[in-house]
Symmetry: C2
Subunit: 578 residues, 2 copies
Amino acid sequence: MRWSQQLLPTLRETPLEAEIPSHQLALRAGLIRRLGAGLYIFLPVGLRALRKVERIIREEMDRAGAIEVLMPALQPAEIWERTGRLESLKDVMFHVGDRQERGLVLGPTHEEVITDLVAREINSWRQLPRTFYQIQTKFRDEIRPRFGLMRAKEFIMKDAYSFDADADGADASYRAMYEAYERIFRRCGVRAKAVEADTGAMGGKSSHEFMVLADSGEDGIVECGSCAYAANRERAEARAGEGAVWPDDAAPLETVPTPGARTIEEVSKFLGVAPGRLVKTLIYLADGRPVAALVPGDRELNEIKLRNALGARSLQLADDAVIERVTGAPVGFAGPRGLTIPVWADHRLKGCRGAVTGANRADTHAIHFDLDRDAGVEVAFADLSFAREGDGCPRCAGGTLREKRGIEVGHVFRLGTKYSEALHAEYLDEAGQRKTVIMGCYGIGVTRTLQAVIEQHYDANGIVWPVSVAPYAAEVVAINMQSPACVAAAEAAVAALEAAGIDVLYDDRDARPGVKFNDADLLGLPYRVSVGDRSLARGVLEIKRRADGRVVETPPAELAATLTEMIRNEEARLADDA
Amino acid sequence: MRWSQQLLPTLRETPLEAEIPSHQLALRAGLIRRLGAGLYIFLPVGLRALRKVERIIREEMDRAGAIEVLMPALQPAEIWERTGRLESLKDVMFHVGDRQERGLVLGPTHEEVITDLVAREINSWRQLPRTFYQIQTKFRDEIRPRFGLMRAKEFIMKDAYSFDADADGADASYRAMYEAYERIFRRCGVRAKAVEADTGAMGGKSSHEFMVLADSGEDGIVECGSCAYAANRERAEARAGEGAVWPDDAAPLETVPTPGARTIEEVSKFLGVAPGRLVKTLIYLADGRPVAALVPGDRELNEIKLRNALGARSLQLADDAVIERVTGAPVGFAGPRGLTIPVWADHRLKGCRGAVTGANRADTHAIHFDLDRDAGVEVAFADLSFAREGDGCPRCAGGTLREKRGIEVGHVFRLGTKYSEALHAEYLDEAGQRKTVIMGCYGIGVTRTLQAVIEQHYDANGIVWPVSVAPYAAEVVAINMQSPACVAAAEAAVAALEAAGIDVLYDDRDARPGVKFNDADLLGLPYRVSVGDRSLARGVLEIKRRADGRVVETPPAELAATLTEMIRNEEARLADDA
């Protein structure tokens, strides 16, 4: 493809709309353009890279035995009602007004549609197991679309759904997808890490997220420095039984005035006590009923852990009126002592003594607080706070946790029977008994993965594409379009590479070499072939590898063979890893 | 692919929801399933065929120099306001409620988005011409979704958009797409005919529709039996100057009582005069102002022709109150005489005399009516009625028109500057002058084309796929799954075919041969390879061609070579045609 016939509008300046490197580079290299908030056009060269990501995903899905289907984006709201997700996903689901006002939504995902299909079309153990997948556009009404393709309102997902007769089969299907995901991300050239994750609105038994490590990532990851343990921040645990060491303080409980000191910081400063010695008491409404949650003053309460511990469907911080009613004091002075609502405490508070807590009275805290002795109510313990850098690993003896940032590019779920029960996906087993199908689901953000590749592969001059997903494998630059010999040699080089089956972009613009080289670095194709009069006079062309700047010279007649070999080695390296 | 591992639910009964053969067969052969009104799931085997249609389209677009892009389905309503189409397409456009209430629509097409993109990214004659295309999902709120994929709310389109510096360039771009369309449909194995068409809500200068001829088609086509003239029913003309021959009746105008006779049929019967001797007078509101339109009593008024003749943006039949006010008579007795509103007459009424028309008085008609003599107002003539079977061809001397039915699978438009003016798609020419880009647009209904292929290729037993778009090129049927020799030979046959690069479906179900053969005919793959103990004993396999039932026997070792040859010949036949 000739640059002069392509639409490849590179930008010298970094657009103001973009905050993170991959978004900036996708715009500057002419891969995408913004249409509206969270809505992007794929320009031709960006689309080429996207298709390569899709092809890798499709090949690995097929290899894993999954079967491709295509499902409507427009879906009757009614099937979402049957699983309860019309309510639980209402914040992100687009509603569409049709002329019959029947209630259509734009699918943010397709569990309902595929499960309804399976309920209709699969009836016998003979038809199981099956894993179906789709690569198609999905829609989410994002609160805050940002970072380009990372968090968009319209995006392409690969979603797969497995249907099994029993738990062992479901495990095998899950493992097959998990392994396919590892291959997919390695083949795309991204370092992705599988981490334990909460199942959230998707429901089900357990899940793993595939995270691309990147400083710009929106997701926190906690991993062990010694063993393979890794989880997202919401899910991560720390070694049990470790935490605060409480002082040997047997003094009786005493209340002290703390006028105006409400926050941990204020109380800590006022009393001259480290935050870790404070007990923070938070009042929540769990499914509408008040509950108290205690964490050490230097820890952050993890609402997902609290909700899971309570088994609640909804959880929100109580408002001031509820807090005053429950504690009998203004906000800022809550403590567990004397509460008549359920009290849950982070397990790091086991053995808590010599602590400071609110006294349920205005401008007053309690000191020498001993949780067992002074709470006066039964306290339930659970892991309620976020694990953090420096905590002990929950899986190995000596490991210490560290925090990282990541971009979630994939998520695999063991769904169990949440959807198959709601939508009656059942089968007759060999004995003629009716049973419920066991499901898993497996998503990859395709457009997000494309941008994640860039987020892991760039330098000061632009993108540095892995060959597997590069829009073109190579670019031929004619250094002087005014020189007939140079142009003829460049065209011969392009023809030779195309004949060898290599995707090639030919920069045939009548522009200065510096402009062309800068654009070549910005676009970041793996190999740049420079054709200039000087090197031609020496009987060679110059091949420059974008990744490390290494230059190889080759006679024109050997160009195609040399480059084919280089590309093959590079692809083999990615595939070997996989 | 093994049948036992595929999702391929064939149906013996014809589903009640389907009216036309292709829809019935797509359901029965397990290609698609209905999710809701106008919403279809592509099952795996249907998706395979769809992808083959897409691949042919993509290859021909690339060959014609068009460049692929991908644009959002969700679009800001604001850009549709700028071209006036938020109003003109309001009946079919889905509106989407997002949290910011900014006004999003689901694109029924993408002229606005691509033109806005070009306005931003193309500024110079050096960047022209360009033709972009997209293959993606579009949405229309169809009044009456029906016929399966033929008229759905969500469907896949290939749309291309050409941008040229001048009229000659625009013509060349149009021709390139027109010719690509001819190749695409021939390669898909469908007989499609290009017919002149009205431009409708798309606007622009002229257009052609590509029609697949089929009795079930929703569109009327008029074509000449002698020359190449063909047009859709709305657009078709007849030879000028031909039509009714009026009697030599010079008698003076006379009014006669016609109590209760209002319709052409009633008046014709009451007075004993052929319908062709009557002049039908219809009162319309054109952009809100009344106008009278006259056509011979045996002709149907063509509203598109009337609107074009009037140059009106909107046109609708007047209601009873307007008719009474304008004619001074109840509905059913309107005539041109004495009207004070503009009067337009079909050109077949030139020289009209000895006719019958309404007298603008209740229960009264006028006879011996002479349009020139008696109208009393100036009458404008134009082609206002539908051409029909038996009319003279407007392009050749001796040809006669005939009517056909068709399915519109493609539509190409010369758009001119309608969109580029509204959205400021301009460029600087070689002299530095600012000019407006000239556009064309070119659509193919991809999902509709797939079903149109079936509508042209079936028999009493099922689908008869052209090899180019068949889900698999061949099916291997193991006749007796209880015979180890039969199973081994069938598996060897499948392996040999797959090694030769042939898409093959292997019917490995433990079912009676009759069931398998019926399903094979229903699914309609081009070649069926039967592997049975009896033919194996003779050292052969049986290849049956679905199209004509012709059977060829081949030794197992030669199967792959024989079938490769047969498929290649079949593909060459389609490609040669193209």
